[in-house]
């Protein structure tokens, strides 16, 4: 950890390790970065293009980065390091006091966000997207974080919610607030339907079945043309109105009623607050559930299923309730998604969505609600940030599309996380708050214990 540069004999093994890393990187990057198949346009079909310069840049970067790690980083001697004192960042997010202040600050920021000067339509849309993912993250957190059931098909419930809203509003003319609980209910039902066959499965096997379930729902939506519109999806879904006042230029519209000048932004702001309200609802319900006996039973289930059974917990009901409630919030979010887009198609519910939501939960630290917020901002906002990197075209040429770096960023985030925060951004688990009448007991216990 010395700040001085190492002497030459010390430098040699470092150089050797860096060279090895570079060679490994070379072989890894050779097929992915170094070779590109391109269509010739002629009868030859495909031919290979070699990109030696790109490969050289990547390997060079790896060498430099590895050397930097060797010189400035911690010793990588393979032995387990003694746990270092938590960094400032960890202490910052880990402390319950800070978490209690950061939460309200974020909430206030989220409420005033649409009225800030830089909030144009694009920024607001991004805000809506992030909050949708935060809500989905909180929903999935019940299943994955609390109950410990790895669900790779969560997007299925999002889809069920979206199609429920679309079909109910198109065929029966139901309004948003009527469809919302119905969509949640339907999604929860599908959660139970998924839950039953996987009751006995855990870990990898559960992941595979849930993954398949997500795909089944998508494929059904894709092929059941008469009902779901197939790949064309369902369009012209009625947009939600402000307590019966539509957002349009008509005399009976929102703007006219409140004597405002019509602007398309009003609808966006309304949608923003709608999803914010839904997310806050999710936050309170999931946060509260965690402190209730059912939430503790979920956590106990994650810890040890056999012990749960030997304590008289009905593990079947506990698992199914986790699936159902998690799915319900997915359904709510899906319902909002359909209302916002006014168009749903199976395209929106592919595996990538499931993976993103799961990544948000995992990156956030599995059981921290605040962690989900930060990781959703990082995962969704980060991708949007990539679109802003158009100046990179100057370096990489006009064909360069920065948003294609999305998966690279994804991978990079995961690698960095493995290195520095293997248990997620906010990995501390706060014990469930003691209930009122128990508080006196516990306070007495503490004083006794100390005294």
């Amino acid at each position: 950890m010395s700040s001085q540069l190492p002497t030459l004999p010390a430098l040699l093994p470092m150089l050797k390790r860096s060279a090895i890393a570079t060679i490994i990187a070379f072989f890894l990057f050779l097929p992915t970065l170094g070779i590109k198949t391109a269509a010739s346009g002629g009868v030859d079909g495909l031919f290979l293009q070699y990109r030696w310069s790109g490969l050289a840049i990547a390997c060079g970067l790896i060498f430099v980065a590895r050397m930097a790690m060797e010189i400035f980083g911690k010793k990588q001697d393979g032995t387990s390091k003694p746990a270092a004192a938590p960094s400032a960042l960890v202490r910052f997010f880990g402390s319950a006091k800070i978490a209690k202040t950061v939460g309200p600050v974020l909430l206030v920021f989220a409420i005033v966000f649409p009225f800030l000067p830089f909030s144009d339509r694009y920024i607001l849309d991004l805000g809506i997207l992030i909050i949708t993912y935060v809500m989905l993250g909180w929903g999935l957190q019940i299943v994955v974080g609390l109950a410990g059931l790895l669900d790779l098909g969560y997007v299925a419930f999002y889809a069920v919610g979206a199609y429920s809203y679309a079909l109910l509003s198109i065929h029966f003319g139901f309004g948003f607030w009527m469809c919302l609980p119905l969509a949640g209910l339907l999604a929860a039902t599908w959660g139970v339907i998924l839950g039953f066959p996987v009751l006995r499965l855990r870990g990898d096997y559960l992941a595979i079945v849930t993954l398949a379930f997500g795909e089944i729902i998508r494929v059904v939506l894709l092929n059941w043309r008469g009902f779901t519109g197939g790949s064309n999806g369902l369009s012209s879904i009625p947009r939600p109105s402000f307590f019966g006042l539509p957002f349009n230029q008509e005399p009976g519209g929102f703007a006219a009623t409140f004597g405002l000048e019509y602007s398309s932004m009003q609808r966006i702001v309304f949608l923003y607050f709608l999803i914010l309200a839904l997310a806050i609802f999710t936050f309170f319900v999931t946060g509260r559930l965690r402190r209730l006996p059912i939430g503790r039973a979920w956590e106990a289930l994650r810890e040890d299923e056999i012990a749960c059974r030997s304590l008289g917990i009905n593990t079947v009901n506990t698992k199914l309730s986790a699936f159902a409630i998690g799915a319900m919030f997915g359904g709510f979010a899906g319902s909002f998604f359909a209302a916002k887009q006014a168009f749903v198609s199976p395209e929106s519910f592919n595996f990538m969505e499931s993976a993103t939501i799961l990544a948000i939960v995992v990156l956030g630290g599995m059981s921290s609600q605040l962690g989900v917020v930060f990781s959703a901002i990082a995962m969704v906002g980060g991708v949007e940030l990539l679109r802003q990197l158009q100046f990179l075209k100057v370096i990489f040429g006009p064909d360069f599309d920065p948003s294609q770096l999305r998966l690279l960023l994804f991978g990079l985030a995961m690698v960095l996380m493995m290195l520095w925060r293997p248990r997620g951004l906010v990995s501390t688990r706060t014990p469930t708050v003691f209930l009122k009448d128990e508080k006196t007991v516990s306070a007495a216990m503490i004083s006794q214990g100390r005294g």
Partner: protein, 241 residues
């Protein structure tokens, strides 16, 4: 026998095609400590699981307080008043000691919780000191105390203990056995104890059974078995301590 709290009759269980238990008959009466001793793989834990309905009896019957329970789901059996501290403790490592005890009381009316908790802390003062600590960070003996405490939080009529002395220092094991004796004498707690530590278990128990390869070969009072030559040779290291 006046009141059989637990009666096991002709229980046979299988692991796949391998038979693990052969016609097990045993009783636990109200207020007794009954122990089952036997070597590794004799089928002691299997019997425990058969009582709790985890690995069901294929033949035979298990009755608890006169009620047949061998076809009930586990959680309903537990709710009848059988509480189990399973093999290997199986506490919830990432939850606090307090939360572990809370989990023990899920089947119980919450109004008893504060009293029961105070009783448990009086019984195992170390748990009170560690109440906010993650259970996984406790020592082996403390974890065993927590496992027993958690089982007791369910106000059991019958406490099933699977090898509570496993992996514990002799002194710690003795503390745990002493606590069990105290609970039995002061509160009339009925205990069915599965143990390899035959000497301690038989000294504690009013009656005992010896299991060998899935069959009960001997039964009698604790002192009878302690002095039995076969038991002495096989489980007490030849000499009678």
């Amino acid at each position: 026998m006046t009141q059989n709290l637990l009666a096991v009759r002709g229980v046979e269980t299988f692991y796949g095609r391998n038979q693990a238990l052969y016609g097990i008959d045993m009783d636990v009466n109200e207020g007794e400590i009954v122990t089952m001793i036997g070597a590794n793989g004799a089928g002691k834990s299997t019997l425990m699981m058969a009582i709790c309905g985890v690995n069901r009896a294929v033949r035979g019957s298990v009755t608890f307080a006169g009620k047949p329970i061998h076809e009930m789901p586990t959680h309903e059996i537990i709710r009848l008043g059988i509480s189990q501290s399973p093999e290997g403790r199986r506490i919830f490592p990432r939850m606090s000691v307090y939360e572990n005890l809370q989990m023990g009381a899920v089947t119980i009316d919450p109004k008893y919780f504060a009293d029961d908790l105070a009783r448990m802390y009086a019984l195992f003062p170390i748990l009170e000191k560690r109440h906010a600590q993650r259970a996984g960070t406790l020592s082996g003996g403390e974890q065993q105390m927590l496992a027993i405490g958690r089982a007791l939080m369910a106000r059991p009529r019958l406490l099933l203990l699977d090898e509570p002395s496993l992996g514990l220092a002799p002194l710690v094991a003795k503390t745990i056995f002493d606590t069990l004796r105290e609970l039995n004498q002061s509160q009339g707690l009925t205990v069915f104890l599965v143990e390899q530590n035959a000497y301690h278990a038989l000294r504690l128990a009013s009656r005992g059974y010896v299991m060998v390869n899935g069959r009960i070969t001997l039964s009698g009072t604790g002192s009878e078995l302690l002095n039995h030559p076969e038991v002495g040779a096989a489980y007490l290291g030849g000499s009678g301590h």
